[in-house]
């Protein structure tokens, strides 16, 4: 930890502070006061210094961060392709930047990133720092957090956004701790306070039962990880101009303690997170076999199968299908909830869907209150008929976009 007590160049080594210090923590070394480990930051030395050379960093009270400007987005990539959450952050970042009158930056780390960097400019980055080196081809906490920390110190952004992916949620805390700044996890809303110009970071807590708005006042940057599929993606604009800066990477200088021995990609073809249509089943299915029907409906619609947490806990379907606070957040064009009551935790993972349709026996189920259309009935009677209708139309040959 760095001591919050600083002795400036004005110090004459007069020694007044040495006798004032109740902890005997100050010595005069080389004609200058040196604050030792015994310092308890009591503040007695500050006013006694005749030349005002001692300053104490206050933990409270506003500080000036005028030299910290810009919104930085960490552009996570896998196999040289930028994760779409970064485009969402650039979308939000531009909005915040316009409010503040500040630029948008992006940092990308990996190998073979020329296209990625150009894409980031099209998506609105005014400046992109590129750390491109074969040794960085796979993600590792150590080198990535070290590089990202150095990039942040160079850019000095007022705001720093990271996608709350599994990688972002482990990388973010490492970088925040290195930078000695606050980090708000898994935000679902970001705004600028018009008076203080601070970033208001809103996130769910207590399983989504409570929303908390958090700010970082006394350190910079103001860091947040942001949930995927919540913000609106920045559109690609080929006319947008930005600076791409290739940064040198020296692997010998980077700490790298964890070795990646193997990676096994997840099996399923359609990821619920990327699907435009999600057909989800809940406990109302009654039995694991019910997911067969969900699969048929999803296939008819060209979508993916989602699930509520209780069905996953029961082992009816794999965890990767789970929608909700402890599963994935989805934002499809259509979310069709079959036999899902719609607890607040489930809603947290799907309520931003464009159209929500529920089929449920209980008209009082919470899902019915948030659905564009809620059909009160037995899903085993309704879904087969719905599949028929969809198939009928397909075979009738009407071309569809």
């Amino acid at each position: 930890m760095s001591k919050p007590v600083n002795v400036g160049d004005a110090c004459t080594g007069c020694g007044v502070c040495v006798s004032a210090c109740p902890f005997g923590a100050i010595t005069i070394t080389g004609n200058k006061a040196l604050i030792g480990d015994a310092c308890r930051v009591c503040g007695i030395c500050e006013p006694v210094c005749p030349v005002k050379a001692i300053t104490i960093k206050k933990a409270e009270g506003p500080q000036s961060f005028a030299d910290w400007r810009g919104i930085l987005v960490y552009a996570e990539q896998r196999d040289s392709r930028v994760h779409p959450v970064a485009y969402e952050l650039l979308g939000k970042g531009r909005e915040l930047a316009t409010t503040l009158g500040e630029p948008v930056y992006a940092v990308v780390i990996g190998s073979g990133l020329a296209n990625a960097a150009e894409e980031l400019v099209k998506r609105g980055a005014d400046k992109v720092l590129v750390y491109d080196h074969p040794s960085l081809v796979t993600y590792r906490d150590d080198p990535y957090s070290q590089i990202l920390t150095e990039a942040t110190k160079e850019l000095k952004p007022s705001i720093f956004l990271i996608g709350a992916t599994s990688i972002g949620r482990t990388l973010g805390p490492r970088v925040a701790a290195k930078l000695k700044t606050g980090l708000t996890a898994d935000c679902t809303s970001l705004d600028i306070d018009p008076e203080t110009r601070l970033l208001l970071q809103t996130r769910p807590a207590y399983g989504g039962n409570i929303m908390a708005t958090i700010y970082t006042q006394n350190s910079r940057p103001q860091m947040a990880t942001v949930r995927y599929k919540v913000m609106t993606e920045a559109a690609a604009d080929p006319a947008h101009r930005g600076e791409i800066i290739k940064k040198p990477v020296d692997p010998a200088r980077l700490q790298d303690r964890v070795k990646v021995l193997a990676f096994e990609a997840a099996k399923e073809q359609v990821s619920i997170v990327d699907a435009d249509i999600v057909v989800s089943g809940g406990k109302g299915l009654g039995e694991p076999k019910g997911f067969e029907l969900m699969k048929q409906l999803a296939e008819a619609l060209g979508g993916a199968v989602g699930a509520s947490r209780p069905t996953v806990d029961e082992g009816w379907i794999d965890y990767r299908h789970q929608v909700g606070l402890s599963g994935r957040t989805v934002r499809p064009k259509l979310y069709l909830a079959c036999g899902i009551s719609g607890a607040v935790q489930h809603q947290a993972g799907m309520k931003t869907s464009d159209v929500i349709i529920a089929i449920n026996k209980d008209r009082e189920a919470p899902i019915c209150r948030i659905s564009t259309l809620a059909a009160v009935g037995d899903l085993y009677e309704v879904v087969p008929r719905l599949i028929e209708k969809i198939k009928e139309q397909k075979t009738s040959g009407t071309p569809q976009s």
Binding site: M1, L183, G207, T213, V258, K259, F263, A374, L386, E388
Partner: protein, 286 residues
Amino acid sequence: MYLPFYTTASSLLSTNSGETSLTVGLNIVICIKQVPETTEVEFDKETGRLKREGVAAVINPFDEYAIETGLRLKEKHGGAVKAISMGPPMAEQALRDAIAMGCDEGILVSDRVFGGADTWATSLTLAKAIQLTGPHDIIICGLKTTDGDTGQTGPEMAEHLGESCISYVSQILGVEDGKVTLKRNLDDGVETLEAPLPLIITVSKDVGQPRLATLRGRLAAKKATIKVITNKEMGMNPKELGLDGSYTRVTKIFTPEPHAGGEVIEGTPDQLADAIYRKLKEAKIV
């Protein structure tokens, strides 16, 4: 109590002692948190802080998987499992519950000045407390807590301790020659990693169902002395602790607004299927 030159797997590695007949166990530390049993909690509108009094408290369910991981490591490699928790005096019960599951020891990090800490201040305090209680080979945390939902304390603690950290561990494959091989879940697949000790990990539910407390464990828990560490022992500047030492501030807490709903319809299965189909057409989905 700790011997000053306690041998750990990682210290053996660093001293390069080569072949040894010593049976070296792992010093395992589990970080646990006491959380409200229900996530339906109240908050204090004046202070913007959550009211934790009067709500039944349990070990954070995710931390039980961390305990299970630690106990399995000990069963395989020998050593000791220490549970540590930062919290108010009542959090002592969570540590006793951890001992009932099989942990050897419980340490409570508790002081008024620790109160109101965000993940930065919490991870700093826990890191210092862990250093104070002796050497460790591996620190295991739950994926996140059910109250704060951040999952940040483990990785931030790694940074304070200068150690490496692996999140979302799903399986420990082995510990050998001061190195751990393990699997961890990422969004798009599963990674197999190798990391040197000492190491901090956060574990997912895939590590295995947490065991229940045994009768013997309960008796041990009842008799156990929970060591309490206050800032007197840690000697940290109170400005770096608790609310004062936190970089983030909660400015507002509110209940999420319900999503605006549309129509609720009843009818025969045919009518319902028709209505849904019309809605799908309207939304240009079919």
